[in-house]
């Protein structure tokens, strides 16, 4: 009786060992080779400096900046777009990376920079584009923020919906073109221009990808 009990116990261990080894093998084997994140044709390099009359100027950031510990200069654009009258200014942060860990929640970064979040809503700019629309305040001045996530095929409003899609695609061995986020901000009186600029940016990214 005791031997049978011992045998049962060993059998259970063998089952566990077998399951673990099997799981290790199937989890770490690529059955298809179509999940490669190919950024060789990086749309960032060709992202226009002139968009509907807004002229863009790259913001100078020191190479020692912590930002570049996370990602390379090829994966991010930090640009200030303005109209010739110099009144309408829009800040663009565009990240298109090969790794989702490089796409952060912008609320955290901007809060740490001193932006106070006053009001947040989701607005629909186009059938394929819902964006986060946030009113913020920094040093007594109000700003409007707009941001959304993209994989260059679809857009996502929340990080969770973006991650969910990534996980599903990965599980089904579908390719992911890129891990991206688009952040725009401007002084509060510039709302309509911000919406137009967001639509244009989205069209450029989805058409060129």
């Amino acid at each position: 009786m005791l031997n049978i009990k011992k045998l049962m116990h060993i059998n259970r261990k063998i089952i566990i060992i077998f399951i673990f080894i099997f799981t290790f093998v199937i989890s770490n084997t690529n059955f298809t080779k179509n999940t490669v994140n190919n950024l060789s044709a990086n749309p960032l390099t060709s992202f226009p400096k002139n968009i509907n009359g807004w002229g863009g100027q790259n913001l100078k950031i020191e190479k020692t900046n912590r930002l570049f510990k996370i990602m390379s200069t090829r994966e991010i654009i930090l640009r200030l777009y303005k109209k010739p009258d110099n009144k309408n200014k829009i800040n663009l942060t565009l990240v298109l990376a090969d790794n989702k860990s490089k796409v952060h929640d912008p609320k955290i970064c901007y809060k740490l920079q001193g932006f106070e979040f006053l009001d947040k809503k989701i607005i629909k700019l186009a059938p394929n584009l819902n964006v986060n629309f946030i009113k913020t305040k920094k040093s007594g001045k109000e700003y409007l923020f707009m941001y959304w996530y993209t994989d260059l095929e679809s857009n996502y409003t929340t990080r969770i919906s973006f991650w969910k899609e990534i996980i599903l695609k990965k599980l089904m061995n579908k390719p992911i073109k890129s891990y991206g986020i688009i952040i725009l901000y401007t002084p509060v009186e510039n709302t309509e221009n911000l919406k137009k600029f967001a639509l244009k940016t989205n069209n450029i990214l989805l058409n060129r990808s």
Binding site: H9, K13, I17, L112
Partner: protein
Amino acid sequence: MKKFSFNLAVLFALCLLYLKHFPLWAKEWFDFDSFYSFFPFLILFGIQFFKIKTEELKKTEINPTNLGLIPLTTGILIYYTGIKSEVDFLSGLSLPLLISGIILFLYGKKIFMIILPVIILFSLSLPIIPIFRLTTPLQIFLAGAAAKILNFLNINASAVGSNIFIGKYLVTIEAGCTGVRSLSSLLVVNFLLFYFKNISVLKKVSIVLFSLLISFVGNIIRILLINFYIIYNGIKGAEGFHYYIGLGVFIISLLIILVINEFIEDDKIVEYKEINAY
């Protein structure tokens, strides 16, 4: 010929699953600047725990339960999803589930309940929690508090987000400056010292709350000292000062906890004996 150990084989198979995670986790566990640097204290806790509980574990009846298949299956599915989707949080999260599943499936509920504290602490030590989400409000609060104290001392300073502007200098409160790092280590040291002490739960909770307070106040003092250093000496050498002052605050906090440990005596257990009246 030496007998084949199936226990070792199970452990090996489990380690195989996390082979590619271990280098990254080990880097976090043994880096003083990391939130997870309390891991060495956890090893001490584990050794002490199993030393004390060996007899109890030996005496406890092994009664495997198929209930262990629930955490095992869940753990396997989460692991698979985590690895395939490259979400380290998921693959890391599967480890405590698999450990729990193994123990329930092989040894049963009683043994599982005995070693549950070690499983919980080990789970917390896995470097998968997005700590920066917890520290953001603290970073902003501490920058504001430090600027207010400096203003109170007639020093011109202002806080914007997690940045403190003092004259021409800018001091940024990083996640590590919020005290969560020393707090995590202090909490594990607390666990190590007071878990085995025969004191009431109320006392244990009070000690944990007290270490929270020590860590919080210690870090405000640390930030102020760094600010004073920059005001009087400039930015040169501030990085080194920042490191040593952090270490100093941690050692002082640790000493306070050790002193408390010395002074707290075990609660007396009063035994009522029935007296035979006849």
